[in-house]
Amino acid sequence: MDKYNLFEKILLYLGILIFMTFILLPFVEMFYASLRPLDHLFRSPYQFFSDDLSFWAYGEMWNTVPMLGRYIFNSFFLATSVTVITILFVIPAAYSYARFNFTGKNSSLYLLLAINMFSGAVLLIPLYKLLRTLGLLNSYQAMIVPGVAFLIPTSIWLLKSYFEKIPIDLEEAAFVDGASRIQILRHIITPLSTPGLVVVSLYIFIGAYAQQFLFAITFNSKKEYMPIPAGLYEFIGYQTIKWNEMMAASLVGIAPVLIIFIFLQKYLVEGLTAGAVKN
């Protein structure tokens, strides 16, 4: 069943090639921009090879923005913190929405969505006042606390759909055998929804990574706590922008996340254990 004939193989690889080209094309531009000298960054018509390509920008960027390493660490730390905290709030809530019916279920679900319908920029000033009152400004918390709040709603929706796919018979069987619901949540649901969990955690992580910038700029003034996107701004000068170094820094900045995903992607395991549903 898993064997493909030659025609199918060619078709599949061709499809993947086209898909990959679409996905990676802008990175080609970005990569080349990072290799060229600042006074001749771009050529017309496009040239894939020229004699002034070099990796100079990758070295120079650490001089232009001395705290770059710290920023990369901060981004990572912030995103991880947000992910861990958010997932802890989301798992029980998503399970509840997936399995139970109660008054206010549907309206609260849509209310959650409504929160995401406001883009962050609108809420910025009121949020600033709130965080100031709580005394959370200019710290790591300044970026973590709002980050979690905005990621919870959609994460609940996403995880809920994965929980819904797990057959209820498994849980009922365990319940009849005397397991408490919390035990079911921990020992049955969580392992079986691993692909879903991995993916939602990844979503939260990347979402946290992405929204860092707005919160960092507005709620934090201490350079030591800044994440990468804020740090990239330091490549922008008064009238010149060091594009080559900025691109080099961006590409280096996303490397840690990609490395994580290389490890994670083997947890996108296949299927439920066969035969688990036999009673």
């Binding site: 006074d39 001749h40 700029i217 922008i236 000068g237 009238q239 922008i241």
Partner: protein
């Protein structure tokens, strides 16, 4: 169970992280834009703190692109910084809304400014910021391309000559004659204003606060600007000035308008800098743009802040900024004995133009102003209307934003 524990721990952590404030006599918080505070500035700050021991100054460097928005947001949220570097175009709006205080610029400084500088920070007869960074514009040309087209590498003396030069270049070499900015970006409007001020036009009268945009001079300028699209790079609406620099460096345009930092950005191009040509109804003009340092209202120590800023924006500190950033000198430095590096032909192009230049127009809602102007310019380039109609429409819309 575990969850409840967790919540408890987290809330204790949060509460215990309230920071305690140590109070000094006067805490001044200043903001400069950029990656770090410049040494020349720190020298002034340290000296001030040494001379005034009960004043404690904290300087913060906020990156370009977020600097202005951040200090304005803070002012609105009721947490203003003491002073900040800011674009002069924001001064009118901030002044009208009481976020900044009028500044008293000492006579020793006002007498040194280049002509027209103070106009960029003046509103209702008062100054609202200390001018700190200044630029004018000139026309850059690539002599090699002009040679190739059989033209002498001399500056055009009129708009007709500019157009015919560009046309010749395009016909003879296939290279675009001039770089034209049309993207919805602030410097598109600036590029247009260079031409407008070379044609006797104006946007707003600073003394009467009347919108004077709707004039035959403006219509003429707009028509010319749109006509340049025939001899410019393809698709002007996708280009703004810093991208034109890239084109110039790749030898794909022969001429374009830029500021004094341009020479340093152009690598090994055989370049020449000349004055912007005069239109049929004006003289060779230019656009005067300044950034200033504003003093915010509501800090309780506005006068101390003003004192500090006056030191930061005059004398050696100011000279250091102008030379290290490659800007048009904001003060007439020969008055304090500094002649270099501005006594070269290159710098003369930018300095001579000052007297004939016009200030960046000051409107309360400068972003809406920019949108209206750019819409007018784009409409003309796209051919979506008669120039006279577009100008009249723009002038009417500006009434709401002045």
């Amino acid at each position: 169970m575990i969850l409840k524990h967790f919540i408890r721990v987290i809330s204790v952590l949060f509460i215990s992280l309230f920071s305690a404030n140590a109070f000094a006599a006067t805490d001044v918080h200043g903001v400069m834009c950029g990656g770090e505070i410049r040494e020349a500035d720190m020298t002034v700050i340290n000296k001030y703190m040494a001379d005034n021991p009960d004043v404690n100054i904290t300087m913060e460097a906020v990156p370009w692109g977020t600097c202005q928005d951040k200090v304005i947001n803070l002012a609105i949220a009721g947490d203003p910084v003491s002073f900040s570097y800011i674009g002069s175009r924001t001064l009118k709006g901030l002044a009208e809304n009481g976020h900044i205080v009028p500044v008293n610029i000492p006579e020793s400084m006002t007498s040194m400014y280049q002509p027209g500088i103070l106009d960029t920070v003046t509103h209702l007869g008062q100054q609202w910021g200390f001018p700190h960074a200044f630029s004018t514009k000139a026309l850059f040309m690539n002599c090699d391309i002009l040679d190739e087209a059989g033209l002498a590498c001399e500056g055009p003396q009129s708009w007709d000559e500019l157009y015919s030069m560009a046309e010749t270049i395009k016909n003879k070499t296939g290279i675009a004659g001039i770089g034209l900015a049309g993207k919805d970006f602030d410097n598109t409007m600036h590029q247009f204003l260079n031409y407008l001020y070379s044609n006797g036009g104006q946007v707003i009268d600073p003394n009467t606060n009347e919108i004077t945009l709707n004039s035959p001079n403006t219509v003429e300028t707009l028509e010319f600007y749109a006509k340049l699209a025939n001899v410019s790079q393809e698709g002007p609406l996708a280009w703004e000035r810093s991208q034109l620099t890239e084109l110039f460096n790749d030898k794909k345009i022969a001429m374009y308008i830029n500021g004094p930092w341009g020479a340093g950005q152009h690598g090994d191009i055989n370049q020449k800098t000349v004055r912007i040509p005069a239109g049929p109804n004006g003289s060779q003009g230019t656009l005067l743009i300044t950034d200033s340092v504003a003093v915010f209202n509501g800090t309780g120590h506005e006068d101390i802040a003003m004192d500090i800023v006056a030191n930061l924006t005059s004398g050696d500190a100011q000279y250091d900024l102008d030379t290290s950033w490659g800007l048009t000198p904001i003060m007439q430095y020969p008055q304090i004995g500094k002649v270099a590096p501005y006594n070269t032909d290159y710098w003369m192009m930018f300095i001579d133009a000052i007297a004939d230049g016009g200030p960046e127009p000051l409107l309360v809602d400068y972003k809406a102003f920019q949108t209206v102007m750019n819409s007018m310019i784009q409409g003309a380039i796209l051919g979506e209307g008669d120039a006279a109609d577009l100008v009249a429409e723009a002038a009417e819309e500006l009434e709401e934003y002045k």
